[in-house]
């Protein structure tokens, strides 16, 4: 009797202390993730200018080499209850096509032929990618981030500045779609950041770091899970030449590199710790360099996403360029751009081509910079 009660007492105290230890570890980890000791120091790689301030969000971008155009999604802020127009526009990167100095920085908004699609008013585009087929057809694939209608939309570009809606893929498992990477005609990967779409439930999920994000694969007819149990997967980019898929993790502050097999299953190659939260991923097809649009200070980003209507609550912006060496055994990271949020807040997408860099943000401006001096160690 005495022995039993002593044993029960010991187990009871043991459990209490283990619980206290786990809570303490959780608190420490949460506090470190918030980046309380970080800030951003401003610098630019060359002259920069704002291309547009007219939309609450320029959150997704893709580059089409054959057209020398960058396609940009507009109006992501509506997914966070901001009043804004939504749509898709493009920017021409060719600077020797005879346009004037003023016209060179114009954005051209595209008209969308919805072909009878009934949910067109619930279109809030964010992640975007493209596929150019050998016959010259250019297809666009766009994530719809509407809280009630998360879908992948398929478009074809016709008559230079019009989009034909081809179809939409919607699925109950889509709760927080972020970005998209195309690996073939109508074959694509998408990131679903969290099990909860928005609000305090999502914040709690991030705080607990339960790892309920996923990468889905669509093979042209069927949707499947390509990778699961990820912690807040965000940006996704595909290196077609090397068949490597890069997936950013916002909470782990890292990039995962996967080998895409012939049957499109994913094999994890390595994890690259960035110590900054990647949101957008762009892969330079020529060099294989990875460009990251990041949120470097999480607690400021969280505050900014909670109050996107407040112009005085900024989130820092950061662009990284990663050059992979020795087949992924090592890499060199440079930071072409960083801003405390006063010029561009919460950078979420990036494209680099022809010594030009476009930076998109979640709720605000689109920035264009010249990289007159691309120094890399």
């Amino acid at each position: 009797m005495g022995l039993q009660s002593a044993a029960a007492h010991f187990i009871n105290r043991f459990i209490i202390w283990i619980t206290i230890f786990m809570v303490a570890c959780f608190l420490l980890r949460l506090l470190v993730v918030l980046d309380l000791n970080k800030r951003v120091y401003n610098h630019t790689p060359g002259p920069c200018r704002v291309l547009t301030d007219n939309y609450k969000g320029t959150a997704g971008m893709t580059y089409v080499e054959s057209q020398k155009r960058v396609y940009i999604t507009l109006g992501y802020g509506r997914a966070h209850d901001l009043k804004t127009k939504t749509g898709i526009a493009f920017y021409k990167t060719n600077r020797t096509d005879g346009r004037s100095q003023q016209e060179m920085y114009d954005l051209i908004e595209m008209t969308i032929n919805w072909n009878g699609y009934e949910y067109k008013k619930e279109f809030i585009p964010t992640g975007i990618d493209s596929y150019s087929s050998s016959n010259g057809r250019v297809l666009l694939y766009v994530i719809n981030a509407h809280p009630n209608h998360q879908c992948i939309h398929f478009f074809q570009i016709v008559e230079s500045s019009k989009l034909n809606h081809r179809k939409a893929i919607c699925d109950p498992s889509f709760s927080s779609l972020q970005d998209i990477a195309v690996v073939g005609p109508d074959r694509l990967f998408v990131t679903n950041m969290a099990a909860f779409g928005r609000g305090w439930a999502q914040i709690l999920e991030f705080s607990l770091q339960t790892g309920q994000g996923a990468v889905y694969y669509y093979d042209g007819s069927k949707l499947s899970t390509a990778a699961s149990s990820l912690i807040a997967p965000t940006g996704i980019g595909y290196d077609a030449k090397r068949r490597i898929l890069y997936v950013g993790s916002m909470i782990r502050e890292s990039i995962f590199a996967y080998k895409v097999a012939k049957d499109t299953t994913l094999e994890l190659l390595y994890e690259m710790m960035l110590l900054t939260s990647p949101i957008g991923v762009f892969v330079e097809s020529k060099t294989g360099d990875i460009w990251i649009a990041a949120h470097p200070v999480i607690h400021e980003s969280a505050w900014h996403y909670t109050h996107p209507e407040n112009q005085n609550i900024h989130s820092p912006s950061q662009i990284l360029r990663i050059r992979i060496q020795e087949e992924g055994n090592s890499w060199v990271t440079t930071e072409p751009y960083a801003n405390d949020g006063a010029t561009i807040s919460a950078s979420s997408s990036v494209v680099f081509t022809d010594e030009q860099m476009l930076i998109g943000s979640s709720f605000g401006r689109l920035l264009h910079c010249d990289l007159t001096h691309s120094y890399i160690t």
Binding site: I20, A24, L27, L28, L31, V32, V33, D35, L36, N37, K38, R39, Y41, N42, H43, T44, P45, G46, P47, C48, E253, L275, T276, Q318, L320, V332, T333, T334, E335, P336, A338, N339, A342, T343, T372, H373, Y375, I376, T377
Partner: protein, 367 residues
């Protein structure tokens, strides 16, 4: 019951202490490389370029090299203390050591902070913070002979108030301000001082005859006066702030104006002709500490950062531009950065490695 309350209180204090230590060590930080233009290493100073002093009129820079800092023992110090001369008008990327004549203790000359004053007869007078191999401290005053390109010893000043001098700023022919960057005289004591937060450094004013404390129980690393000699900038490096004070030389007094939070450990300062404050900083404490704990190990390096701080008119707020950042493989543990050639070039000094010379090809005015 009371025991439980005490235990939970201790647990809370422990978590708070661990958390503050982790943040202080910057375990979640790293540096992302970028440069403002082409950069090259400067030949000559191999074991450090901790402070650099530019003489505008002569377009030359003095570089202190061979720093001794919290040594474990004198026998660990296998390098020589030197002062180098760099010609800013040539792109030679090579600095020449210049002789220092008539020193009292030649072997014990390990220069740290530098400052200068132009005498009435146009002689350049150099004020040098010096540590010996056994980490004894003094302030050495040298006059520069430009014809012979040598430094002549004028005076050595010692005092109990020079507790652990780091940087110096001349305020006259024989007067200066000195910063003490702590009180501990050993590496272990320094770690305890930093972790406990009971700082014993501060600021000392020597008026030519005697010394007085202007600031005590603080940490002061780099110090510099504005070009009009009215504002004093102090790097509180372990608190990761820049303190801004009025300087009243007649009364020998300072008054605090503001404290700018930088979230990086800024070391030495330079004020340019546009009144921007330039600083060499240590953005990741754990890597800098590892490097500085064993400066002879070439596999260890500390991240470098060059910031340009632009103050508001009332000196209460500041905008910061990052001119250079390096993970340490090219330039390790930067301490000082000085622009020249109308802001088109820059030299950056380090604690224990060569200095670098960079072009500045990007605009630093973002707003």
């Amino acid at each position: 019951m009371l025991v439980k309350v005490v235990l939970f209180g201790l647990l809370g204090v422990s978590i708070h202490f661990i958390f503050n230590t982790l943040l202080t060590l910057d375990i979640n930080k790293r540096v992302y490389n970028h440069r403002p233009g082409e950069c090259r290493k400067i030949e000559g100073p191999v074991h450090g370029s901790e402070d650099i002093e530019v003489i505008d009129k002569l377009q030359i820079a003095f570089i202190s090299s061979g720093l001794v800092y919290l040594p474990n023992s004198a026998s660990d110090v296998k390098w020589k203390g030197q002062i180098f001369l760099y010609d800013l008008t040539k792109r030679s990327y090579k600095a020449e050591p210049i002789p220092v004549l008539n020193l009292e203790d030649v072997d014990g000359f390990h220069p740290h902070g530098l400052s200068h004053w132009i005498l009435n007869n146009r002689t350049v007078r150099l004020f040098v913070v010096v540590h010996s191999k056994t980490f004894k401290h003094s302030i050495v005053i040298l006059d520069y002979n430009s014809a012979k390109r040598e430094l002549n010893h004028v005076k050595t000043i010692r005092g109990e108030k020079f507790v652990r001098p780091n940087d110096i700023v001349a305020t006259g022919e024989n007067s200066f301000l000195v910063s003490n960057d702590g009180g501990a005289q050993t590496a272990l004591g320094n770690v305890w001082e930093i972790l406990s937060g009971f700082y014993k450094g501060g600021l000392v004013y020597y008026n030519g005859k005697k010394s007085q404390f202007l600031m005590e129980n603080n940490i002061a690393n780099g110090i510099i006066l504005s070009r009009d000699q009215k504002t004093l900038f102090v790097s509180h490096i372990n608190q990761e702030t820049i303190g801004v004070y009025t300087w009243n030389q007649k009364d020998g007094e300072i008054q605090k104006i503001s404290e700018i939070e930088t979230l990086t450990g800024c070391d030495n300062f330079y004020v340019d002709t546009q009144d921007h404050l330039w600083a060499g900083c240590h953005p990741v404490v754990k890597d800098a500490a590892g490097h500085l704990g064993n400066v002879s190990d070439s596999t260890l390096y500390g991240p470098s950062q060059v910031l340009r701080v632009s103050f508001s008119k009332d000196l209460k707020t500041a905008e910061i531009v990052e001119v250079l950042a390096d993970d340490g493989r090219f330039v390790s543990a930067s301490t000082i950065a000085i622009p020249f050639d109308d802001g088109k070039q820059m030299i950056v000094g380090t604690v224990a490695r060569p200095a670098i010379h960079c072009d500045i090809n990007v605009s630093l005015n973002l707003y």
